[in-house]
């Protein structure tokens, strides 16, 4: 191995800062470096075919609301002004920590003084049995007959995994622009009117949001007893579920896919755990994403290892267990501000913040990451919703937390506030989300809300109802007296 690196060495491009990843965390870091170090060279390596686009916008792309050329969240001038050299597509497969070199799958080499791993996450593909389509036809007619077709030799891969799914037309993940483009052309080519979505979490529902916008009914298959189960409770989910079902979509809870039927390389239906068959020609795999740790496999040596769990561990400065190597964004497992536990929170605002902090520290500054907490905003069929923090407190918190709720199914609104030790630790808003951030501020600042409890749940809750010291802090700012 050492030999190959030495040979590549001669053509190795050098930069003060190498950033792997061209999305929220990577670019926030680059901008942050530039505020401190005006001259150091910055190279950003992207593994995609497009110069810059915002991944969360793929929902809006698929829905026809935004064009590819309008999907950039930083324009060309950003790279120019900040003197950032962008290189793509470069798929980094290995880092040699000793010689401080980054190697791509095609053998390109980059030498760094400081490195940022901001390479994000990858979709999880559950292992599902693949069956031939004759099997499907026969079993639709008669479940009990163990017919000849079922025992037929199937040449196709027998198990769906992160490699085989790409070879079956009609099965897609939904995390990058290529996914959205391929789904789009599949819909047109096959005149798709309905899709199955495996996973009723954030990505599943975000894709559902897009499909419904373009008139495609969805069938959402979810393992738990409700959709958006990580953040919603039964009542919050029921509002969205009812609306989906009223508009002709279907939700299968406590269910999953048992078998996938393939005919001539194309998806030809699925069988659920409960035996039900869905004649679907499009399936979105949306069971979640995980930090992309593939680079570590070939990079970690006995001597030098980047420590990781589900994601890459960092300290408060976003530096990893290896000096001069930092990490930020969806690839990181950092600590939860509310629980204090290590956790991977793959959301845009935290990627931006972690990137900013990593960048500052890489450039010699000293910024501290104070931890983050989960939050997200999702709108399905014109019902907006926002959830922040711990919305479903675990059993060991029972008796300690106080929960106030206002559930109005007829108005399609719901408000839930979770409190612990006089402070808000979680929030769900469905329908009326307009002042969600005020609650977020109370969570972030750990404000004692015991005296304003009744106000919190009111429909017209606002700044004026806040505890006076905190209100003053917000309205007049620090150090200015009214």
């Amino acid at each position: 191995m050492k030999n190959t690196i030495n040979t590549i060495n001669k053509t190795c491009e050098s930069a003060d800062y190498i950033i792997i990843g061209n999305s929220a965390a990577g670019l926030s870091a680059a901008a942050s470096i530039r505020t401190i170090d005006k001259t150091g060279s910055i190279i950003v390596l992207a593994n995609e075919q497009f110069a810059n686009y915002s991944k969360p916008l793929i929902t809006y792309y698929l829905a026809g609301k935004v064009k590819l050329e309008d999907m950039h969240f930083k324009d060309e001038s950003f790279y120019k002004e900040n003197k950032i050299l962008l290189k793509f597509p470069i798929n980094v497969v290995k880092v040699d920590f000793e010689s401080k070199q980054v190697i791509s799958d095609k053998g390109a080499c980059f030498r760094y003084k400081k490195l940022l791993l901001a390479n994000g996450g990858v979709p999880i593909i559950p292992k599902i049995e693949i069956a031939g389509s004759d099997d499907f036809q026969a079993s639709k007619e008669n479940k009990s007959i163990n017919n000849k077709a079922a025992s037929k030799e199937i040449v196709f891969p027998k198990i769906l995994d992160s490699f085989s799914y790409k070879n079956i037309s009609g099965i897609f993940t939904f995390t990058c622009i290529q996914d959205a483009m391929q789904i789009q052309s599949h819909i047109i080519k096959n005149k798709i009117k309905e899709t199955a979505i495996l996973g009723g979490g954030l990505i599943g529902l975000k894709s559902a949001e897009a499909f419904l916008e373009i008139g495609i009914r969805v069938r959402v298959i979810e393992l738990s007893d409700r959709i958006l189960s990580a953040t919603f409770d039964k009542q919050a989910s029921s509002i969205i579920e009812n609306e989906l079902e009223n508009k002709g979509s279907k939700i299968y809870t406590q269910n999953t896919i048992n078998k996938i039927f393939v005919k001539n390389g194309k998806l030809d239906g699925i069988e659920l755990k409960n035996g039900e068959k869905i004649d679907s020609k499009l399936l979105i795999i949306a069971v979640g994403v995980k930090p992309d740790l593939r680079i570590l496999k070939d990079s970690n040596t006995e001597k030098e290892q980047i420590r990781s769990g589900r994601g890459i561990f960092t300290d408060e400065s976003m530096e990893t267990s290896i000096k001069d190597v930092y990490a930020a964004g969806d690839v990181v497992e950092s600590f939860d501000f509310i629980t204090g536990n290590k956790t991977n929170i793959a959301i845009w605002p935290l990627a931006v913040r972690q990137g900013e902090i990593a960048g500052a520290n890489m450039a010699g500054g000293s910024k501290i990451y104070g931890g983050g907490y989960f939050m997200n905003s999702i709108e399905i069929l014109n019902i907006a919703s926002i959830s922040i923090g711990i919305t479903n407190p675990s059993d060991d918190l029972e008796g300690h937390v106080e929960i106030i709720k206002d559930f109005k199914p007829e108005k399609k609104t719901y408000k839930k506030i979770v409190m612990l030790d006089k402070k808000i630790i979680g929030l769900i808003l469905v329908g009326n989300i307009d002042r969600a951030g005020i609650y977020g501020g109370l969570i972030k600042n750990g404000v004692d809300v015991s005296e304003i409890k009744e106000n919190l749940i009111k429909e017209d809750f606002g700044i004026i109802a806040l505890p006076s010291a905190y209100k003053k802090h917000l309205v007049v700012g620090d150090g200015i007296e009214v």
Partner: protein, 145 residues
């Protein structure tokens, strides 16, 4: 930069600031025409009132603006020179991440045409924001920090 300061004790909740903000952000820019034909214009300043207590609040144009950090489309930007935080409505996709992030709760959902986030732009083309200029009791003041 110049910012709007809120003088809570001077506010009489007359809501003239809201009206002038709506007119300023109307198509016609005329109070009667706007009142008659453009009923869905949102005011970007918000008067809050409980009993005799009231104040008008709008975007604080934060230094480290959480709405800019949360924006997935690049629509929400803080101008480096002026310090003003604005939402480029062409780029905005109405994901409401900014609403989730703003601790002041001063970003609204504009659903009148394409869904976009609506917020105070400090009337960038005016010497004084219209809410400040039209406040009869100087409960809003436009001053340098």
């Amino acid at each position: 930069m110049k910012k709007i300061y809120i003088k809570e004790e001077y506010c009489i909740a007359c809501r003239l600031c809201e009206i002038y903000c709506q007119v300023k952000h109307s198509k016609s820019k005329k109070i009667l025409k706007a009142f008659k034909n453009e009923t869905d214009i949102l005011s970007r300043v918000l008067v809050e009132e409980i009993g005799y207590n009231s104040f008008a609040i709008q975007c604080r144009h934060c230094e480290d603006a959480p709405c800019v950090e949360a924006c997935i489309s690049g629509a929400m930007q803080k101008n480096k020179n002026t310090g003003i935080v604005t939402c480029d409505e062409k780029k905005c996709v109405g994901c409401w991440m900014c609403i989730m992030a703003c601790p002041y709760g001063v970003i609204k959902r504009d659903l009148s045409e394409k869904k976009v986030a609506s917020k105070c732009d400090l009337c960038g083309d005016e010497e004084y924001p219209v809410c400040v200029r039209n406040c009869p009791n100087e409960a809003l003041q436009f001053k340098d920090i």
